[in-house]
């Protein structure tokens, strides 16, 4: 394998090729720089401010949950016929965001895309925290969350197993598998770096904690051999999950017979949407991170550019999905489907949501065709933000506008979110950033040892 990644595509016009790591770094400097983030560098004031804000929001979440559990989900705006609303929108949104992390760490690993190295750790952490936020919703959206464990297949005196025909049941398995594999993958990847931190820490407490987390890693050849094997295996395990989890989440809708939900295009379209949203979130987080922590050397424009390209591609798939939904509504000649589409796009009371969705998810991201836009971090940041909003709206459109007008006009009604819908959502954002900031503070946000492998001078260790 080449020691340096070639730059074949982007060079039709003459620009400086963006390497995955800026020149001039050595193994020692990489290690120094990354481990210093945790061990040496003074925690910046911005971190405290950010932590304060996000931790406050996380507390809003805690209060909302306490009120929710004691009072009932009637504090939200869900009603009849809109049985699911913000709860499931947020669940799908968070789960989708997680997907980019797994894609980067697992699929790109298997595909030997080295550029992934500097962002994979970060993306995996993002996955894990997003799944944590997502997991709250299916649990808490039930009417009696203290009984939600009935969805697990455990031997019980009632002699009842869960209902395996229900997509919600599949969700339970998909999400819990996803969460465990992601956590394992992330942790295994961290072990060599824990050892580095252990060795470099001056503080006794850090030494002990990192030492325990490093599981006695000494960096011997045998360790490395086993590590590589385990990591590859986990990557292999995680890879199908990228596709399966969101496919199964989409089954929640596709399996039902509601116009607007019942569509065979949902699995691929949802997966594409998930990756789309996930990369938007990766950029949304990386751009400030590399700026505040001076990591431009490690997370280079090349990373941003590649992410932007993936967004562009998946965004187009999502756009195709929208087109196919509309096409099938017409082609099926079903009056319910036809009405649903018409109602969704222009005659219904939520037409604005669909209009915004198209603007945010389809129109605005087209700016990424421009190379200059892809190289402008400000534009990338804004586009990522817009896409994150757009993907949330997509779930709103799918869930709420399909439910509020279904088969019998006599049962139609409107949905109005309450303040607790918003506090729950904002609260999970707070929780996400709280975890993420703790992660940046206490763990190496970029994989140290992997970065060393992509240094220009690093010799390839082995062939595939």
């Amino acid at each position: 394998m080449a020691s340096r990644v070639d730059e074949p595509h982007d060079d039709l016009i003459h620009v400086t090729p963006n390497p995955v790591i800026e020149p001039g770094h050595t193994a020692a400097s990489v290690t120094d720089k990354i481990s210093a983030l945790v061990l040496k560098r003074k925690t910046p004031l911005a971190w405290y401010i950010g932590f304060f804000i996000s931790f406050s929001l996380a507390n809003v979440l805690m209060f909302t949950i306490a009120y929710l559990v004691t009072t009932g989900i009637g504090i939200w705006g869900n009603n009849w016929p809109v049985g699911w609303a913000f709860d499931i929108i947020n669940f799908v949104w968070w789960i989708g965001i997680g997907h980019a992390g797994t894609l980067i760490s697992a699929i790109l690993l298997l595909l030997r895309q080295e550029w992934r190295t500097s962002i994979n750790r970060f993306a995996e952490a993002m996955t894990l925290f997003a799944v944590a936020c997502a997991g709250l919703f299916p649990l808490l959206h039930t009417g009696r969350p203290w009984l939600a464990y009935w969805m697990l297949p455990y031997p019980n005196t009632m002699n009842i197993y869960p209902q395996f025909r229900s997509p919600l049941m599949w969700d339970v398995f998909a999400v819990s598998t996803y969460a465990s594999v992601s956590a394992l993958f992330w942790y295994v990847g961290l072990i060599p770096d824990f050892a580095t931190l252990r060795d470099r820490a001056k503080n006794k407490a850090f030494k002990v904690v990192y030492g325990m987390l490093a599981l006695g890693w000494r960096g011997s050849a045998r360790h490395w051999h086993r590590y590589e094997t385990a990591y590859l295996l986990l990557a292999g395990l995680a890879t199908p999950l990228v596709l399966s989890v969101h496919t199964i989440v989409s089954f929640d809708f596709a399996v039902s017979q509601l116009p607007g939900w019942h569509a065979t295009i949902f699995p691929p379209y949802f997966v594409a949407g998930a990756i789309y949203a996930g990369f938007a979130m990766v950029l949304l987080l990386t751009i400030p991170l590399r700026k505040f922590y001076g990591l431009e050397d490690f997370i280079t424009l090349r990373h941003l550019r590649n992410s932007a390209k993936i967004m562009l591609a998946t965004g187009l798939i999502v756009g195709y999905g929208y087109m196919m939904e509309a096409f099938m509504a017409w082609y099926s000649a079903s009056e319910y489907e036809g009405f649903m589409m018409k109602n969704r796009i222009w005659t219904g009371p939520y037409w604005w949501a669909y209009a915004l969705l198209i603007i945010t998810n389809i129109i605005i991201p087209q700016i990424l065709w421009s190379k200059r836009a892809r190289h402008n971090t400000a534009i990338l940041f804004i586009v990522s933000l817009v896409i994150s909003v757009g993907m949330w709206l997509e779930r709103f459109v799918i869930i709420v506008t399909s439910l509020h007008r279904d088969y019998l006009p006599g049962s139609w009604a409107m949905y109005r979110p309450t303040v607790f819908d918003f506090s729950m959502f904002v609260g999970t954002i707070g929780l996400f950033f709280t975890l993420l900031l703790l992660f940046i503070r206490f763990l190496p946000a970029i994989s140290i040892f992997e970065m060393r492998t992509i240094l220009p001078g690093a010799a390839p260790k082995e062939e595939g």
Binding site: I73, W80, G143, R144, Q163, V255, Y407, L408
Partner: protein
């Protein structure tokens, strides 16, 4: 108090033992020592104490003053608790259960008692279910002429209930009911009241009771009337006034006008082929209408060989259920109604009406007038003109004249003695009373029931200033006394407030719409210290403490009850007109036709038990039959027992009168003129759910969606779409038709110097420039549920616009928009089918010709074809729908029962009684206005309404009751992750509340949206009285679980168990669901689809049968029979 606090000594025995003590003790010991505990070792005094008095210790406390006191405290508390549980709610007097004898009372099995709910215009006869002495549910009494059809053969008895009667159960247990006797705000014993009355009456006796005034509502009770007459005889100077804000005053004035005497009109819809309603809402909910609706629907129903239908023309001023149901509906301004009636009367050649047609050229709908007249004339003697209760006396008189001209008198219209004990013009009666008060001629006003302070017309308002003029001749304060269920607006202004007993806890009697008397028997001893009307009136007699039971019995003893009963040996043979006299009015097909006249024979044949009872037992059925055919009662007690048991006193129907319209009755009528000038016209109507305001504190009725508007918890000013567009520039996208939330614009209604602020509701079918307001809202002292306050308004008080000269309609209303908005809680926002085939509708001609509905005949439904194996309908060209075998999976097989339901849309009049019946039977909570506005109402059964035609002036509406469809391939079942909703072996789709975790996926996946979720804790688990109200056979759901219609599975199980005990199958008609039992038109039929002869199976085989959303292949087992219309082609073509 915790026991630790009561007996601290018990907890202090084991004083901690100090190690030093033990060591010291051990050092003293020598040799082997055994010790039981460290305490003994330490030789502590406490251990000694413990050892010696472990049990006797408590006994020893008798000597100890303090210990004895605590002991007595505990004993006293437990005695009190024991006393509480032993409270008996069965009244002390003998009550007679309908089906079973008290000796047979089996805990867990309900008993049914016949009683009746007094109501203006005639009472509904009820069978009230009693679970362990607690009345829990009301159903119709099949032997009662209003709620049942006693003339029918025993096997076909059906009964119905109206929503007011069913909801009365909630009123009974209403925690806001008045509990105590109050004198000027202070709680007083009844004896204090009796004392004061006695003193006052003695003073007044010398003046012949000149200042004594009684104000009652309409009195139909013979006993009460006899009491009042006796009191008036004792005090010749006293006067009895009657005022009912929403009674039938116009009708009796109209009869007076036409015949010169008050008569009661009994309509025989079972004989009418052509019906013209002049603003009469005879199909809406209300006791007397039960019979009207049932007879009318039976005449209308087609199927099983019957292919004729009646035809209904409705000319109405505000949309009603009847108008929605009409074959031809004409909307008209109230001021034009009399003109229209005159023109039509002229066209029909009615007596006393000028035939000079010229002045009627400008009548609205004149172009159709002749066609209507022709059609009515073509059915002489079989037609019927009905005038609305709220129409002017002139319109009533015109209707009488038209009926006479059409030869309907004695056929479809029967005149009888009035059912009111003393018919008076109530408005004049009230005016006279107010005049007397103003003139200082009143010194004691006794208000027996009613709430005149709230509901009197403004010009006769019972203000405090006016009431303070009630004084004794020597200038002392007069006395105002109010008897009522609630401590309400009137009670507040009265010196004495006496709580009234609910009709379910008191003895009494009342008349039905045809005059038949029912004995009201209590099912429960009074919950509070109330007095019944009769007991209260006894205070003004020589025997003030007489019990209601004795009063009613004594009255009927004087009426020689035994001879009344003896003259009518069997209830079945009571038919005043033999069945079949008017040919072809048996609606149940040929096989049973003709048995009706057999009378006693029919009763003796084995038959399903009365339709209203879910607990019929074969042993009870012969008993009941025996009772009916028993010989004449030997004495009063036997007769009494029988009438209380049956719920009706035979032979008490009002005597028929033969009257005719005098030729010159109209001579002194002022010529009808259309209203001159512009401006709005105003219409007052009793509210469809809370009536005149008396049910304002009844949460069930408050939350019951009002027919046609689906409004809950409020009243509104109804306006037409055109008017609203003109006033507010609204288009239909803003309101109603596109289903936004209903933020209604607020307007000021200015009328005759009064102003009321009201929200506007657009009602399709309302005439332009006419505003309808309903009465009963804006109460200031109704209770927790019904009181309207500044921060929590509950409707507006329309009585404040009402004057005594225009009780029901008037001109000169001014409507001023305020720019504010008001949130209305409306349960259906979209009344348009969007072109979908939801309600399928045929005309009679299409049906007869057979082409009309074949394409909709869903043989593939779960109901019919799977059983017969005739499932393969593929290839039948008209059939585009999936069949039962279009699946990879094998179909379920039902070897036992296979329950199903059929709903005949052609019969549903949209009265919503089924909704309340379901609520009462299944312990369904109410959620309150805010939650309804959030679309979280809990009704398991809803009645969807879809208008037909243009929103500006719809041709009518279709009502579609939607319970759970119990789909064969239920979309809710596979999506539940925890098996909380499952298919049963009898085909029902069961909901396991305990297993539900509340994901709501089932609701999302239900195409019919029949599932309801407890978003919050809606059920009231705290209020003790409401606990007594619940049906013990139905789980009371808590928050977080999904619930839905179960087909009243508790009733199914009951019948199944009973049948298994006797080794037979459940008979057809043995199981009656709550909605079915309430339905006045037999639109809902439930039964076993495996029994091909069951009524439901026959209905599902009807050509009109179709499955809702059949294309989804859910194969619902609730199916619908298409709506039917019978238009007059002469008009239809126009």
């Amino acid at each position: 108090m915790h026991i630790k606090e009561t007996f601290p000594e018990l907890y202090n025995i084991r004083r901690p033992v100090k190690r030093e003590e033990i060591r010291a003790r051990l050092e003293e010991k020598t040799g082997k020592e055994y010790w039981r505990s460290l305490e003994e070792l330490a030789d502590s005094g406490q251990f000694e104490d413990f050892l010696h008095s472990e049990f006797p210790r408590q006994a020893g406390e008798w000597d100890d003053e303090v210990g004895r006191r605590t002991f007595l405290k505990l004993m006293g508390a437990s005695l009190a608790l024991a006393g509480l549980t032993s409270c008996s709610y069965q009244p002390p007097e003998t009550v007679v259960p309908f089906v079973r004898q008290p000796a047979e009372l089996v805990p867990g099995k309900p008993l049914f008692f016949a009683t009746a709910m007094p109501f203006p215009g005639g009472a509904a006869g009820l069978l009230v279910r009693s679970n362990e002495g607690r009345p829990t549910h009301a159903e119709g009494n099949p032997d009662h002429p209003t709620s049942g059809t006693p003339e029918r053969p025993a096997g076909q008895r059906v009964a119905a209930t109206d929503s007011f009667s069913i909801a009365s159960i909630l009123s009974l247990y209403d925690p806001d009911r008045s509990e105590t006797i109050k004198n000027r705000g202070e709680i007083r014993p009844y004896t204090a009241f009796l004392g004061e009355i006695r003193t006052r009456l003695d003073e007044m006796r010398g003046r012949q009771g000149a200042g004594l005034r009684f104000l009652t509502e309409t009195v139909t009770s013979p006993t009460t009337a006899a009491q009042l007459k006796a009191i008036l005889a004792a005090f010749p100077g006293a006067k009895w006034h009657q005022y009912e804000p929403a009674g039938t005053n116009s009708a009796s004035l109209g009869a007076q006008l036409a015949f010169g005497q008050p008569v009661n009109t009994v309509y025989r819809f079972d004989r009418a082929d052509r019906v013209l309603s002049l603003d009469s809402d005879f199909l809406s909910c209300g006791a007397a209408n039960l019979r009207h609706a049932r007879d009318f629907a039976a005449k209308r129903r087609v199927g099983e060989g019957k292919t004729d239908m009646n035809r209904l023309y409705v000319v109405e001023t505000t949309p009603t259920n009847t108008g929605a149901f009409a074959d031809h509906r004409f909307s008209i301004k109230p001021s034009q109604m009399e003109l229209f009636a005159r023109a039509l009367a002229a066209a029909l050649g009615a007596p006393g009406v000028s035939t000079d047609g010229a002045q009627y050229q400008n009548v609205a709908h004149a172009q159709h007038l002749l066609a209507i007249a022709k059609d009515l004339q073509s059915a002489r003697g079989r037609s019927l003109v009905v005038a609305g209760e709220h129409q002017t006396p002139a319109v009533h008189a015109l209707a009488h004249a038209m009926n006479q001209a059409l030869g309907n008198v004695g056929q479809t219209v029967v005149y009888t003695d009035p059912i009111e004990a003393q018919p008076v013009d109530q408005v004049s009666s009230l005016r006279e009373l107010v005049g007397d008060i103003e003139a200082g001629r009143v010194e004691m006003l006794v208000i027996v029931g009613g709430n005149p302070v709230y509901n009197a017309p403004v010009d006769l308002a019972f203000t405090k200033e006016r009431l303070d003029k009630i004084r004794t001749p020597d200038g002392k304060d007069g006395l105002r006394i109010h008897l009522s269920l609630y401590d309400d607006e009137t009670s507040e202004l009265c010196h004495w407030h006496i709580p009234e007993t609910h009709f379910l806890e008191s003895w009494g009697d009342t008349r039905a719409h045809d005059g038949t008397v029912s004995i009201i028997q209590p099912l429960i001893a009074p919950l509070y210290k109330g007095r019944s009307v009769n007991e209260f009136l006894a205070a003004f007699t020589d025997k003030p403490e007489q019990s209601g039971y004795d009063i009613v019995r004594d009255y009927w003893r004087t009426q020689r009850l035994e001879s009344l009963v003896a003259s009518q040996p069997a209830v079945v043979a009571q038919a005043t007109v033999p069945e079949g006299a008017a040919g072809g009015n048996n609606t149940h097909g040929g096989n049973t036709h003709g048995e009706g006249a057999a009378g006693a024979n029919a009763a003796a044949t084995p038959s399903p038990a009365p339709g209203g009872s879910p607990s019929p037992t074969p042993s009870a059925t012969p008993n009941a039959a025996t009772t009916r055919t028993a010989a004449a009662p030997a004495n009063f007690d036997e007769a009494w027992r029988r009438v209380v048991h049956d719920g009706v006193i035979p032979g008490t129907a009002a005597a028929a009168r033969s009257v005719s319209v005098s030729g010159n009755w109209a001579a002194n009528l002022s010529p009808a003129q259309p209203a001159s000038g512009g401006g709005f016209e105003i219409i007052f109507r009793p509210d469809p759910t809370i009536y005149d305001g008396r049910f304002a504190n009844n949460g069930w009725l408050q939350e019951l969606p009002k027919p046609l508007t689906k409004l809950t918890w409020d009243n509104a000013a109804y306006m037409s779409l055109n008017t609203a567009r003109r006033m507010f520039g609204l288009n239909e996208n803003d309101y109603t038709f596109k289903g936004r939330e209903y933020n209604a614009p607020l307007v000021d209604l200015r009328y005759r110097g009064q102003t009321v602020r009201a929200p506007v509701l657009i009602v399709p079918g309302q005439p332009d420039d006419v505003v309808t307001v309903t009465l009963g809202y804006g109460r200031t002292r109704a209770g927790h549920v019904g009181t309207s306050t500044e921060d929590k308004p509950l409707g507006f008080n329309a009585y404040r616009l009402r004057t005594s000269d225009a009780m029901w309609q008037g001109t000169g209303l001014e409507v001023v928009p305020t720019g504010d908005e008001y949130l209305l809680a409306v349960t259906q926002l979209h009344f348009n089918m969007e072109g979908r085939e939801i309600v399928q509708s045929n005309t009679l001609r299409e049906y007869v010709e057979g082409g009309g509905d074949a394409s909709h005949n869903v043989e593939g439904g779960a109901s019919v074809a799977t059983h017969e194996g005739a499932a393969e309908v593929v290839g039948k060209e008209t059939h585009k729908l999936p069949g039962p075998n279009d699946t990879l999976y094998p179909n379920y097989e039902y070897t036992g029962y296979k329950w199903g339901m059929a709903v005949d849309i052609a019969s549903c009049v949209g009265c919503q009684a089924c909704v309340i019946a379901c609520q009462s039977e299944n312990n369904i909570p109410i959620v309150g206005k805010e939650q309804v506005a959030r679309s979280r109402h809990m009704h398991w059964l809803r009645v969807d309404t879809y208008f037909k035609g243009l929103a500006e002036n719809p041709e009518g509406a279709h009502f579609m009751p939607i319970p759970c469809m119990h789909c064969e391939v239920a979309p809710c079942e596979p999506v539940c992750p925890v098996h909380a909703t499952v298919h049963s072996a009898e085909g029902t789709n069961d909901m396991v509340y305990n297993r539900c975790v509340g994901t709501r996926y089932c609701s999302n996946n239900c195409p019919y949206k029949v599932r309801r979720f407890n978003f919050l804790l809606y059920q009231d688990f705290e209020t003790p009285s409401l606990k007594m109200m619940r049906n013990p056979d139905v789980t009371v759901r808590s928050r977080g679980v999904m619930e839905k219609c179960t087909y009243c599975i508790q009733r199914i199980s009951y019948a199944r168990i009973e049948s298994e005990k006797e080794g037979r199958r459940v008979r057809d008609g043995e199981i009656v669901t709550a909605c079915q039992s309430a339905c006045p038109t037999e639109a809902i039929i439930f039964g076993d689809l495996n029994d091909q002869n069951s009524r439901v199976a026959r209905m599902q085989h009807d050509r009109r049968n179709y499955s809702l959303l059949a294309e989804l292949n859910t194969r619902p087992r609730t199916t619908y029979l298409s709506a039917m219309r019978n238009p007059n082609e002469e008009i239809h073509g126009a």
